[in-house]
């Protein structure tokens, strides 16, 4: 074994460049894989941890107490598949005014109230973030998601409650909690109180299992007692998926590309070492090395730098993942998130194993080599391919001879050429893919009201929600906007919340008026924008998913006691965790009659007009009662992700470039004497450089052209997965991002990678003294 280690150490010492290349490419591949898997493992991690800690409800059911008695409802806790249950808790939907200390005004909001005597329980064991649980009348605890803090007041009907605490339910079983005795008074006349039951089941890991659980529950209760569809934790988990989930697919794609290139490079390195080390192999065998020991020495030659690269890559991957995971951990308040230990162990081991597997076939070739033949040849075997290519290219008089010499070189070692081409192809595909991702994310930014309508004008005395403008205030704003030369167009915007029967979440409503809602900038995935009339709405994908509806469906919306059925006419590209609804002011007024006017004006400015300067001008014209803000159009998360994409793309291209560098270095090492002959008959350094660069330029160009469809295909495959992870479908504009000129430019990526990778060793070869090169063997 000592002899094998010594032989491997000797090989490493003789191939410092290759050793460094192996280390660097495996560092990149391991780091990318660690980031990808770390994010993937943590995409649902925070939710799952909080769910486990709170004994989250697999199912939240609302039961009609007029159809089932409390004993019938309580008996469902003893059903065969139920492992734990909580409730029944009385629940009701109310419209309340929330007043926050220090903030003038108040805002109407729909609140799902649940009556619970304590935050704990066998299911949905609430986390009390602040304050205490109600211990008397007129006290309320708000859900963390409402953003209302202790000391605020909530007025529902004639009841005025003080917020005494803030709690969190991982599956969002309610917006606020009061003592059960408070519920009836808060509901008011004509607003029926429901009974809420929370269950955990033995089998709840899949949609089909949950469906079976619901069927068992429905069968156990009188017909019609189970209201709407009970809310499954799976749906909440999907919609609550972390902010980083959409970024996981592309990081995985980059990780796979990096791994493939790494293995290809390792194969080339070991093949080259075997080819160049023919004499050495012969000597090793002649002094008693067995074939297995020769194989082991060549595998070790790769394994040592590979191990170093894997370990360094693991560390780098953790460093890159931490900032992204920290954001996610903060959202769920689950403490520090990190790359799981198993990933820190498994990824370097898997990468190392792949590398060793890649090294074994060429090492086996070394093991099988005849000692006599190896020693007798006295030098690396000359390539036996490519003569015909040389001959054909030599006839092309229109190209300099140095160019045709270079172009013929790849044919001498076809296997190496193929692996190099594939490595460049993957690198160039990563460039096309990365550029496409950047363009798609750019569309996400531009297909957005912050970009399309960058200036918002509202009243200064903003409370928790935007106060509505009176008719006189609207006239003032309109006259100022009309007087501004920079005004292109504007929409009025009225916001609100509506409850969705059977769902834990309410939906955010935006009513655009005074113009075409398409001016908002949102892209439509399907359908059309609502018309000005009543009862049409556009919704985002999550709304369709959670409500089980589709474009063309009718859906009943509620606000307090009002119910209006709308026709869904379009699916809006608005990814995220929120259910979003867009409708006309008239439709909103029908759902929420208390809505009196728009809360703000959203303005598009003429090309060349600075939104900030425009907003200042509007502010000055309207006076202190109004405020005008200009959106910067910047999105910090997207900026960070774009930076990550750029970094990964550069990393992959560097790795692919190192692959080319390795190939060219091997080529020069093997052809050193030949290069010496060229120089001895008058080849200048520049001609030498041109010849060597041309030896990879053509294959780089070819690989770059082939990489275009590969990169586009990858982009078209990954972007929908990213959109899905962001709870959204995608508009065609998000996919069709490549302009022809961009594709032509991207096709040159392979050429750039090849030339950049070749320049270093080619420059070295060009500058080498002729006598030195001639002595090389």
């Amino acid at each position: 074994m000592t002899a094998v280690i010594r032989a491997a150490r000797g090989g490493i010492a003789r191939r410092k460049l290759q050793v460094v290349i192996i280390g660097v490419v495996l560092l990149a591949a391991t780091a990318t894989s660690v980031v990808a898997l770390g994010l993937l493992a943590n995409a649902n991690g925070p939710f799952d941890r909080a769910f486990a800690r709170q004994n989250g409800a697999d199912l939240t059911a609302a039961v009609d107490p007029s159809a089932a008695s409390r004993s019938q409802i309580a008996a469902t806790a003893r059903l065969a598949g139920v492992t734990a249950a909580a409730g029944p808790y009385p629940g009701v939907l109310v419209t309340a005014e929330v007043t926050v200390p220090g903030v003038p005004g108040s805002s109407p909001d729909s609140l799902r109230l649940a009556g619970r005597s304590s935050p704990g329980g066998p299911v949905d064991d609430l986390t009390l973030d602040e304050g205490h649980w109600p211990d008397g009348g007129n006290q309320i605890v708000m859900d963390r998601g409402t953003g209302v803090f202790p000391g605020s007041t909530v007025t529902a009907g004639s009841q005025k409650l003080t917020v005494v605490g803030v709690a969190d339910s991982v599956t969002g079983t309610a917006d606020a909690w009061v003592l059960p005795s408070e519920l009836s008074a808060l509901a008011g006349p004509g607003n029926p109180v429901q009974e809420q039951m929370l269950y955990r089941f033995a089998s709840a890991g899949s949609t089909s299992a949950i469906t079976a659980d619901i069927a068992e529950l429905r069968a156990a209760l009188p017909r019609g007692a189970l209201l709407n569809n009970p809310v499954s934790y799976l749906g909440v988990r999907q919609s609550e998926q972390s902010d980083i989930a959409p970024w996981v697919p592309f990081i995985i794609a980059f990780g796979v590309i990096a791994l493939v290139i790494s293995v290809l490079i390792v194969v080339n390195v070991v093949s080259g070492a075997v080819t160049a080390g023919t004499t050495r192999i012969g000597v090793l065998k002649s002094i008693g090395f067995t074939p297995a020991q020769v194989v082991a020495s060549y595998v070790l030659l790769v394994a040592v730098p590979a191990l170093a690269g894997c370990l360094a890559g693991d560390g780098l991957g953790n460093l890159l993942a931490i900032p992204l995971l920290t954001v996610n951990a903060h959202v769920y308040q689950v403490g520090a998130l990190g790359v799981p230990f198993w990933i820190d162990v498994a990824v370097p081991l898997a990468t190392l194993a792949l590398t060793v597997i890649g090294a074994v076939p060429p090492a086996l070739r070394a093991g099988r080599m005849s000692a006599i033949q190896a020693i007798a040849s006295g030098r690396a075997p000359r390539p036996s391919h490519g003569y015909r290519a040389h001959r054909m290219l030599a006839r092309i008089n229109s190209l300099p001879r140095t160019v045709t010499l270079g172009l013929a070189a790849p044919f001498a070692r076809p296997a190496r050429t193929v692996t190099t081409v594939v490595a460049i192809l993957f690198g160039a595909a990563a460039v096309t893919f990365g550029a496409g991702l950047a363009l798609s994310l750019g569309r996400v930014v531009t297909d957005n009201p912050n970009t399309a309508l960058p200036v918002s004008v509202s009243l200064s005395q903003a409370g928790p929600a935007q106060p509505a403008m009176t008719a006189a205030q609207q006239r003032s704003v309109v006259s100022v906007l009309a007087a501004q030369p920079g005004t292109l167009r504007y929409l009025t915007q009225t916001g609100g919340q509506v409850s969705l029967p059977g769902l834990s979440d309410s939906a955010s409503v935006t009513a655009y008026g005074g113009g075409n809602p398409a001016w908002s900038g949102y892209a439509l995935i399907s359908g059309r924008w609502y018309s000005g009339g009543v009862a049409e709405a556009d919704v985002n994908t999550l709304f369709l998913t959670d409500t089980g509806t589709s474009v063309g469906s009718a859906y009943t919306l509620g606000s307090g006691r009002h119910r209006v059925t709308v026709r869904i006419v379009g699916e809006v590209f608005d990814p995220g965790k929120n259910l979003d609804l867009y409708l006309s002011p008239a439709t909103l007024a029908a759902i929420a009659p208390g809505t009196t006017g728009p809360g703000q004006y959203d303005v598009a400015v003429r090309p060349g007009v600075s939104p900030a300067a425009y907003a200042n001008a509007v502010s000055a014209a309207l006076g202190r009662s109004y405020q005008a803000y200009a959106s910067t159009g910047q999105n910090k998360t997207l900026t960070a992700v774009l930076a990550l994409i750029a970094m990964l793309t550069i990393l992959i291209t560097v790795v692919a470039g190192l692959g080319v560098l390795n190939t060219v270095a091997l080529q020069i090492r093997e052809r050193a004497h030949e290069i010496g002959v060229f120089k001895s008959i008058g080849m200048t350094p520049r001609q030498t450089l041109a010849m060597i660069v041309c030896s990879v330029a053509f294959i780089g160009l070819a690989a770059g052209i082939a990489a275009i469809p590969a990169g586009v295909y990858l982009h078209h495959g990954v972007v929908p997965v990213m959109a899905h992870a962001a709870n959204s479908g995608y508009p065609a504009s998000l996919i069709s991002v490549y302009a022809t000129w961009q594709l032509i430019l991207l096709a040159l990526a392979g050429l750039v990678i090849a030339v950049a990778g070749a320049l270093g060793p080619a420059g070295w070869a060009a500058g080498t003294r002729t006598a030195f090169a001639l002595r090389a063997e």
């Binding site: 001959r391 002959v677 008058g682 350094p685 001609q687 500058g767 003294r769």
Partner: protein, 231 residues
């Protein structure tokens, strides 16, 4: 001899590869007249091949001055040295150094192509040389298919294709049998007779005596004897 201009002149040329080790070439001064045939003779490791490399501009001396055809070559950049080799010197080697993946004609044409000679002119010149060297019938063969003598004749043709002022031959018969060696020697003598300046490196005294007009013996990097030094 003095009526002939100098083709090559070396003044105090030393080439040292490593400090602390004896120089490969030590303070060599030598002048060769145009049209002369000089054999540089010495045992293995005496420095004769190094001297040839220095004259060909393939290596730089540690000190001293080298002029070939009046051009100083000891301080040329790599690019200038390559241009110098294209036009001023042709080199033939013991092991031929033909390019295996090129045919005979492609090997011979290569220096002309690198020098930018028009294709037709280069082909005409290569054809003439192959005919003169009686190898034209193998013009499309690969070196691996040729005998040692044929390979060396191809190497000579390649060395001469750009009409160099000086032909440098490093052990040109070292890798061929005796009969072929005789043939190559005769060929070189004929070329010299036609006016080609020839520097022949060999360790074979018989070859040196038969195919050159002047013999310079080298030992330990120094000139040990010279049968016809220029003044």
């Amino acid at each position: 001899m003095t009526e002939h201009p100098e083709a090559i002149r070396l003044d105090g040329v030393t080439k040292r590869y490593d400090h602390g080790v004896a120089p490969a070439v030590a303070d060599v001064s030598l002048a060769v007249a145009a049209g002369d045939a000089v054999a540089i003779m010495g045992p293995s490791g005496s420095g004769k091949s190094t001297l040839l490399n220095l004259i060909a501009g393939m290596d730089r001396p540690t000190s001293g001055v080298i002029r070939v055809g009046g051009q100083r070559v000891d301080r040329l950049s790599e690019t200038a040295a390559a241009r110098f080799r294209r036009r001023q010197v042709g080199t033939i080697f013991q092991f031929f150094n033909l390019l295996d993946d090129m045919t005979v004609i492609e090997n011979v044409l290569l220096p002309a192509q690198l020098a930018g000679t028009p294709a037709a002119a280069a082909r005409r010149r290569a054809g003439e040389l192959l005919a003169t060297l009686r190898i034209a019938h193998r013009r499309d063969a690969y070196p691996a298919r040729l005998s040692g003598g044929e390979r060396q004749r191809v190497a000579i043709a390649r060395a001469l294709v750009n009409r160099p002022a000086v032909l440098l031959a490093d052990e040109p018969t070292g890798a061929v049998d005796t009969a072929t060696g005789e043939e190559i020697g005769a060929l070189l003598r004929d070329l010299n007779a036609a006016g080609q300046t020839l520097i022949l490196v060999t360790h074979n005294p018989d070859l040196a005596a038969r195919y050159s007009r002047r013999v310079v013996a080298i030992a330990d990097g120094r000139i040990a004897s010279d049968t016809g030094a220029l003044r």
